[in-house]
């Protein structure tokens, strides 16, 4: 009985807050049929935006994943005095408004920024180019892997790692053979969340992107542009593509993690 009540409560919450909005987005994307959806998605600017979004996520998410696992390891297993500060620093990026994140990057790498003149003199473009967009994306999706892996690592404990170490395994071997398999679900969910956030990030990226259509326009920026042009089908269709990207990430991470089980 209690089980069914819990299930219904969870379903009700999910339906009102999540299922309805998502369903209405899908409905509007396909309002003019599959052909209408396809025409909206096959625009050259939309395709370019899709590739750019994938590229940015393709760089930012793996970097964040590798960093996240190492950072979680340090947070859980090391005996550093200042690791609580480290833990706090990992969470803080979220509390900064995305617009301020973008602005901070401009203050660092823009023309009048700290490194701007040096970068300009060496012909390196960070802001209004890929590196700036990747940095902004990494900033806003940094905590996910760390925060997913830390609790799992704590919960599983380190007996197995200790056993491996006692049996003469190198730290590297221990990590690949013992630690990683035990935290794989944490890593998987962390990657899924980072990727979803990386796909959908708008605020921070919009400041450092320069919004050049077909050049530095990511898919969320494209969605914004479509809305402003009263092209609702185009906007909802591109949103559905973003949702599908997130789902694809989830399924592939699930499959990978399960394979290792």
């Amino acid at each position: 009985m209690a089980k069914i009540a819990l299930r219904l409560a969870a379903f009700g919450y999910l339906a009102a807050l999540l299922a309805l909005p998502v369903a209405s987005i899908f409905y509007r994307a396909f309002e003019h049929g599959v052909i209408g959806f396809w025409q909206a998605v096959a625009q050259p600017d939309a395709i370019h935006a899709l590739w750019l979004t994938l590229l940015i996520a393709g760089i930012a998410v793996p970097l964040n994943a590798v960093f996240g696992v190492i950072c979680a390891h340090v947070l859980v297993r090391s005996h550093l005095r200042w690791k609580r500060i480290l833990g706090l620093l990992v969470d803080l990026p979220f509390a900064v408004s995305p617009v301020v994140v973008g602005l901070a990057l401009v203050l660092l790498y823009g023309n009048q920024g700290w490194f701007g003149p040096w970068l300009a003199a060496h012909g390196i473009r960070v802001i209004f180019a890929l590196p700036g967009m990747v940095l902004a994306t990494m900033f806003v999706s940094l905590p996910f892997v760390v925060r997913e892996v830390v609790p799992v690592m704590r919960e599983t404990g380190d007996e197995q790692e200790q056993a491996a170490a006692t049996l003469g395994a190198s730290p590297w071997q221990t990590f690949w053979k013992v630690t990683l398999p035990s935290i794989r679900w944490g890593v998987a969910y962390g990657v899924v969340l980072s990727a979803a956030r990386a796909f959908g990030e708008y605020g921070a990226v919009s400041v450092v992107a320069g919004r050049l259509a077909g050049i530095t326009q990511t898919l969320p920026l494209y969605v914004d542009e479509r809305f402003e042009s009263f092209d609702l089908t185009g906007a909802y269709a591109a949103s559905v593509v973003l949702a599908l990207l997130a789902l694809a990430t989830l399924f592939s991470m699930n499959a990978l993690a399960r394979k290792e089980a």
């Binding site: 970097l63 400041v207 402003e228």
Partner: protein, 333 residues
């Protein structure tokens, strides 16, 4: 998982290399590409204008990269290094910022239109058939009237709206104190302050509010896109002037200048007019036939943007901040 993680660094490097290759390809291409950085409302007009420019001898081999966004944001982006050849903003101070940054020549407005490329006026967008019968500024502060305008601190368009309201009171013979009292009442009737003009329009179309303060061209665009709205040009309103300028650091100054002079040509002005903008060019004006408000004033009537920004829109001590503070303290809204 293990294999995937091992492959990740390699994949990342490959992706980065791919991108570098793409960038060099773009440079090696060689044809002239102008970058237009503009505020968001004239996007549709520029699609047509660029096509028309490319059909002229001066524009034949010119392609365009385009960026549209909030005027203030776009101005800051260009100042921070966003490469641009031509900039088009919603209000003059955004160009002035680039003059201060050394990116636009100080004499940018020394032409016959004083640097402006389009005009418009502030209008009231109302529900179809104007059920609340909103015709004049005084109607906006009648009981039960719900007004929408973007946030004047985040939106250039909203500043035009506020100054239109203030100037309209002065033009009707009110004292500055009365005009400020009017603004205070108006703010008490404002129920939503979106961050941009387009978002306000979305809010209004979504069913919120009885009247929305907006550019005339936005109202025309909304109607043209099937929104169920009417608009009213009040008897007293402000003349909105939108500037355009060539950026000094342009790699193709000749083509950039050609594009700007094309924008001022009768042909281009007619295109602007078709998109709801009031032309700055005489010949196109007569053809377009926009309703003429009884009293039209410009920002100069209120002392110019420098004075207005300081007096009204300083985020800490400006009049608008004070009005909102007093309303907030009184538990208003």
């Amino acid at each position: 998982m293990r294999i995937a993680l091992r492959a990740l660094p390699a994949a990342t490097v490959a992706l980065a290399l791919l991108l570098c290759a793409e960038q060099t390809k773009a440079i090696a291409d060689g044809s002239v590409q102008l970058t237009l950085v503009a505020y968001s409302t004239p996007r549709e007009a520029y699609q047509d204008l660029i096509k028309a420019f490319q059909a002229t001898p001066a524009g034949r081999d010119v392609s365009f990269a385009q960026s549209y966004g909030a005027s203030g944001e776009q101005s800051r982006a260009v100042a921070a290094g966003l490469p641009a050849d031509v900039v088009a903003f919603s209000l003059e101070p955004d160009i002035s910022k680039l003059v201060a940054a050394g990116l636009v020549a100080p004499d940018w407005n020394a032409n016959r239109t004083h640097g402006m490329v389009t005009d418009s006026v502030v209008v009231f967008v109302v529900r179809k058939g104007n059920p609340k019968n909103i015709r004049a500024w005084a109607d906006l502060i009648k009981p039960g009237v719900d007004v929408i305008t973007p946030n004047p601190f985040t939106s250039g368009g909203a500043r035009w709206n506020i100054m239109a309201a203030y100037g309209a009171m002065l033009k009707r013979g009110a004292s500055p104190n009365y005009a400020i009292a009017y603004l205070s009442k108006l703010f008490d009737h404002i129920s939503v302050q979106d961050k941009s003009g387009r978002e306000s329009l979305q809010t209004f179309i979504a069913g919120k509010g009885d009247a929305m303060l907006a550019y005339e061209n936005e109202a025309i665009l909304a109607q043209r896109n099937g929104a169920d709205v009417d608009y009213v040009v009040p008897d007293q309103t402000i003349l909105i002037e939108n500037p355009v300028a060539v950026v000094k650091t342009s790699q193709h100054p000749e083509q950039a200048r050609a594009f700007v002079s094309f924008l001022l040509s009768p042909q281009a002005q007619v295109i602007f007019a078709a998109h709801g903008y009031r032309p700055v060019e005489k010949a196109a004006q007569t053809a377009a036939r926009f309703p003429q408000p009884r009293t039209l004033f410009d920002i100069g009537f209120l002392g110019g943007w420098d004075a207005v920004q300081k007096r009204f829109f300083d985020p800490q001590n400006g009049l608008v901040a004070q009005i909102e503070s007093s309303l907030g303290a009184a538990g208003g809204h």
